[in-house]
Amino acid sequence: MLIDLGYRAPDSLEEALEILGEDSSFLILAGGTDLLVKYFDAREKMGNVLDISRLEELKKIVIEGEKIFLGALTTHEEIYRNPDLQKKVPFLCRAAKSVGAPQIRNQGTLGGNMANASPAADLAPPLIAVGARILLAGPDGERSFNLDEFFTGPGKTRKNPNEIITGVEFNVPVGDFRNTFLKVGQRRALAIAVASLAIALSCRQGKVEEVRLSAGSVAPIPLRARETEKILQGQKLDNLPLEKAADQLEKEASPIDDIRGTRVYRARVLGNLLRKGLQEVLSQEGVSENG
C-alpha cells in the first residue's frame, strides 16, 4: 500500500510501535466499530490514523491446557464461536455473543473493547471475573496489568498513547468451575448493556472456594465487586447468603442516570442479576474435581 503521512497500516507490531514512538498522536484503528462512530460526520478531523488491523501477530488465540491467550485483534465473533472457549469459559462466549449483532461482532475486537474502556464493555466483566491480565507493548517493551486495575475511568485506561494492547491472558480455574454472564439491554440485539454481571465460581466440596464478580454499566469502570465476593467466599453452595450478597452488590455499584437507564434501576437490577445468576450457576452441573 502507498504509505502516506496521515494513514499508516503497518504489517508488524514492531513497525506499528515505531510509528507510535515517533508520533503518539496517531489514533489506533482496529475493528473501527467505536472509532468510526466517534468520528462519524467528522472523519476529516481524525488526524493521523494507525490502522493495526493487519497485525497478524495480534490475531492469535492460543489455548494450552488451562492457559489461554487471546490476541487483541480477536473479534467478538471469533470468541463467541470458538469451541474450546465455549467449553472452558462459556460466560465469555455468552458476553461476546451479546455484543451488537453479527456485523459488529465480526468487526469489533477484544483489544478495541478494552481500549475504548466503556463501562459497558461486554467482554470486560467475564475477563475480570476470570482474572485476566492485559498485555501491552510499547517502545520501552512490554507491560501488563490485572484487567481489574487497567481501567481508570470512562474511556480511560493505564495504557500510554504510544502503547498497543497485544492481548489478554488468563488461566481457567481447574476443578468445579461455574460461571455465567447476564446482561440487561433495551432490546435483544444491537443493545448496549444497561447492566451486566459476570459470575465466576470455583467450588470445592460443596463450598465456594473462590468467587469473582464483575459488573458492567454500574460504575465509571467495569466493576470488580470485592466486598460482595467476601460475603460469598467460603459459603456452602446449598446455603448461599443470596439476599445479603445482592444487597451488598447494589451498594457496591455506583451507577449513573443516562439515556439507557436510571441509577436506581441499575443498582436494583444488578442485585437481581446476582440472585438470578447464582441460581443459574448453582443449577449448573459441577465439573468433577478430576477435571
Binding site: 500500500m1 502507498l2 502516506d4 503521512l5 496521515g6 494513514y7 497500516a9 484503528l29 475493528g31 473501527g32 466499530t33 468510526l36 462512530v37 462519524f40 460526520d41 472523519r43 476529516e44 481524525m46 490514523v49 490502522d51 488491523s53 465473533e77 451488537g100 449483532a101 453479527p102 456485523q103 459488529i104 465480526n106 468487526q107 435483544r188 440485539a189 444491537l190
Partner: protein
C-alpha cells in the same frame, strides 16, 4: 487526510483506486464504483443497510475505512444476482413478500446469504440471530424469516 491507494476485489472484479484515507468502504463502493445497492441508513453501524461481505464475513461498510479494505475481497448485493438472473435467495424474498420499501433488503439478503454459507440448516432462532444486525421498519421481519426458511427448504429439495 492523504490519498491512499487501495486494491481490492469487488464481486470478483479487481479494482485499483486512489482515495482519501478518510473515505469509508461504503463511499468507495457507492461513489467510486457506482454500486448503489449498498445503502446508508445511519452511518454508525446501527442499522445494517450498508452490510457487505468482506473476506467471507459480514461487515457494516460504514465502519470500515476504505484503505482497510486494501487486498480484500468484497461482495455486494450486485454480486449475488441481477434482475435478469436472480439468485434463488432473492427469488425467495420476492415470493414470500419479504420486500416492502426495499431499503434494508440488500443488506438483509447479504446477512442471510452469509448465515446460510456458514450454517446451511439454521433454526428459526438462528435465522433471527443472523439478521439481527439489519433493521427493518416495514415488514416486522416475519416474511423475511419465512423467505430464508423457504429458500432453505427449496435448497433441501435440490440436495435430494
Amino acid at each position: 487526510m492523504a490519498k491512499v491507494k487501495v486494491n481490492l476485489k469487488v464481486n470478483g472484479k479487481e479494482h485499483s483506486l486512489e482515495v482519501e484515507a478518510a473515505t469509508r468502504l461504503l463511499d468507495l463502493l457507492r461513489d467510486e464504483l457506482g454500486l448503489i445497492g449498498t445503502k446508508e441508513g445511519c452511518g454508525k453501524g446501527e442499522c445494517g443497510t450498508c452490510t457487505v461481505i468482506m473476506d467471507g464475513k459480514t461487515v457494516n461498510s460504514c465502519l470500515v475505512l476504505a484503505p482497510q479494505a486494501d487486498g480484500r475481497e468484497i461482495m455486494t448485493i450486485e454480486g449475488l444476482g441481477s434482475p435478469e438472473a436472480l439468485h434463488p435467495l432473492q427469488e425467495a424474498f420476492i415470493k414470500k413478500g419479504a420486500v416492502q420499501c426495499g431499503y434494508c433488503t440488500p443488506g438483509i439478503i447479504l446477512s442471510a446469504f452469509d448465515l446460510l454459507e456458514k450454517n446451511p440448516r439454521p433454526t428459526r432462532e438462528e435465522i433471527k440471530e443472523g439478521i439481527s444486525g439489519n433493521l427493518c421498519r416495514c415488514t416486522g421481519y416475519v416474511k423475511i424469516v419465512e423467505a430464508i426458511e423457504f429458500f432453505n427448504e427449496g435448497r433441501g429439495e435440490h440436495d435430494k
